[in-house]
């Protein structure tokens, strides 16, 4: 799904040794450095409390960093805050608009905060509210909208300054699959048109499907920063669930593959990445077992994510 190759040597985002210690003493970021190329669709993943929202808060000027710098299209958050903000569109995790205003008012006002005159902002608001399929609610108070509509409104609002870097902090949390898919469609379209996208999400299937590059943050440190393809290639064993017929009481004998019987019609197999699936099917067929359907036990990225976080938890002492 990811699209264009990075167009310029200047990264869309360059984070350099960014640190944040809150007044409570909690070290949310312990020297984070990473780069996101222009045009990228980048996943920033991590468990709750890992530091994702703090990092996004610093980029969007809502959190003051303790040390380090972040540059957006070459502009430093310290030297040119206004310039940085002009380049960024933010979709925050929590609903943060005035619930007594209408979506249209919210979008036009936010455009005004960016210095965009109302004559430009009005048609732009209509365009994005339409594209996100909430134009029919454009003049109703937002408190009357459903959760999915509110999430889409926050995306439309973030597009009002037509940012070159769009940061989405769990944009699809609590949204049903149909709306989630329509949001993916919109965001991939934006990315295709040239906007760099940074996505944080707990739906790892979403990250695997959409993103080209990935960083995993845990305990305020980047523990993995690579391309999605390279990361997924690290998965040495995949677990599949097979719906089968002809399964007897005894487990089938499968060379190099570890089977587990779930019930009379379901078999779970752990297949090393070096092992081909065809030989597995052949071995099952030879023992009178027919595979009627097959699926991954968990999402591939999810398996890797859990392993990386577990490994890091063993390394980092609990705070």
């Amino acid at each position: 799904m990811p699209i264009a190759e990075p167009a310029s040597a200047v990264p869309a985002l360059e984070v350099v040794d960014l640190r944040k210690t809150y007044a409570s003493g909690v070290q949310a970021l312990k020297g984070v450095s990473l780069q996101v190329a222009q045009g990228d669709f980048f996943a920033l993943l991590g468990p709750n409390g890992a530091g994702k929202s703090t990092l996004i808060g610093i980029l969007s000027s809502l959190v003051n960093p303790t040390a380090g710098d972040a540059r957006v299209f070459g502009l430093s958050i310290h030297a040119d805050r206004g310039g940085v903000m002009r380049e960024i569109g933010l979709v925050p995790q929590e609903i943060n608009f005035n619930q007594f205003e209408t979506p249209f008012e919210i979008c036009v006002n936010v455009a005004g905060f960016y210095g965009i005159p109302r004559s430009v902002a009005r048609p732009r608001a209509e365009k994005y509210l339409n594209e996100l399929r909430i134009w029919d609610k454009a003049f109703q108070a937002t408190r009357m909208m459903s959760g999915g509509m509110k999430r889409r409104l926050m995306i439309a609002r973030a597009m009002m300054n037509e940012p070159r870097l769009l940061i989405l902090d769990e944009p699809t949390a609590g949204v049903d699959i149909e709306i989630r898919r329509s949001m993916w469609h919109f965001i991939t379209g934006i990315n295709r048109a040239g906007t760099t996208v940074i996505l944080t999400t707990h739906y790892l299937e979403e990250a695997e499907k959409l993103c080209r590059n990935i960083a995993i943050i845990d305990h305020g440190e980047i523990i993995e920063n690579t391309s999605m393809r390279r990361l997924l290639s690290k998965l040495d064993v995949q677990s599949f669930v097979l719906d089968v017929t002809g399964l007897g009481d005894a487990l089938p004998e499968l060379a190099g593959v570890k089977p587990t019987r779930i019930d009379g019609q379901t078999l779970e197999v752990e297949v090393p990445s070096s092992h081909d699936i065809n030989s597995l099917f052949a071995a099952l067929t030879a023992q009178g077992i027919t595979v009627t359907s097959m699926r991954n036990k968990t999402n591939r990225l999810e398996e890797l994510f859990v392993r990386l976080i577990d490994r890091n938890s063993d390394r980092v002492p609990h705070e």
């Binding site: 809502l62 003051n64 005004g112 905060f113 210095g115 940012p163 379209g189 934006i190 048109a193």
Partner: protein
């Protein structure tokens, strides 16, 4: 959501010089418009209560009690004497409560983040909120003055003094309210200052009496109350009478504008109560 037809997004303009000034003016106009729109949307909470309260003041203090007092300082009827103070009191209270409830509301509902995450400089945010609050203060002042004119006749002795005093007084209490809202963590915190500081200072600020009627040391103590200078400067603008020299009233008001404006801007730039 037809991405096939999507046009590439425009490359952002580099905002320096005149475009940046224009952008800031658009942003300033947006906040001011939003604030004024809010005042008008909830007019039953913002415009009607001061009109009712002040009508009661005029009836009770001006008509019922005032008729027994007779004339006061400079030969004015008691009703005429209290009108400037009550108008100023309405302006001050409404500016303060407007900015505290609006700005604290934006913090409480987190939509202040829309402004914090935008390129707007701090002075635009502050000026926009102050402009909204001053507008409400002026609208309320005009309403109260209109009600007062149905009870008594007035003439504008010094219109320029009256107008500038209203603007300066409204700005001072808008700035003070903004600072209060920045520090406030709960709705209770924005009610404490009006109840325990603003109201006593207003009542003791020469709204209902001349400080020349007080003996020493209360006359001298009254002069540390900034509201005294606003009320008297406005009274000078309307009636031509004041307990304090008008130049001194201007000096005090300008000093407060500069001091409170500097503090509010510094707090906003530091993100006190806004950024973690």
């Amino acid at each position: 959501m037809n991405d096939a037809a999507r046009e590439p997004l425009t490359t952002p303009v580099v905002y320096t010089g005149a475009p940046r000034v224009r952008a800031n003016l658009v942003a300033l106009g947006t906040i001011t418009r939003r604030e004024v729109h809010r005042v008008m949307r909830i007019w039953t909470q913002t415009l009607v209560p001061p009109a009712i309260t002040m009508t009661l003041y005029f009836v009770i203090f001006g008509k019922v009690i005032g008729s027994r007092i007779g004339t006061i300082e400079g030969g004015f009827s008691y009703m005429q004497y209290i009108v400037p103070g009550l108008v100023m009191m309405s302006i001050i209270n409404n500016c303060y409560s407007n900015i505290t409830s609006s700005f604290f509301g934006s913090k409480f509902g987190h939509y202040v983040e829309e402004m914090l995450a935008s390129p707007m400089p701090s002075w635009v945010v502050l000026t926009g909120y102050v402009a909204g609050a001053v507008t409400r203060g002026i609208v309320v002042g005009v309403i109260v003055l209109g009600i007062a004119l149905s009870f008594t006749s007035l003439h504008l002795a010094h219109p320029l003094v009256a107008v500038t005093t209203v603007l300066l007084g409204a700005t001072i209490f808008s700035l003070a309210g903004f600072i209060n809202a920045m520090f406030a963590k709960r709705f209770d915190d924005i009610a404490i200052v009006p109840t325990f500081v603003l109201q006593p200072l207003t009542y003791l600020g020469g709204v209902f009496y001349s400080i020349n009627m007080l003996g020493s040391p209360w006359r001298e103590v009254s002069k540390v109350n900034p509201i005294l200078y606003m009320v008297n400067a406005f009274r000078y603008g309307i009636l031509g009478a004041s307990d304090v020299p008008v130049w001194m009233a201007y000096a005090v008001m300008l000093a407060f504008v500069v001091a409170l404006g500097t503090v509010a801007l510094w707090l906003l730039r530091r993100g006190v109560g806004l950024r973690s």
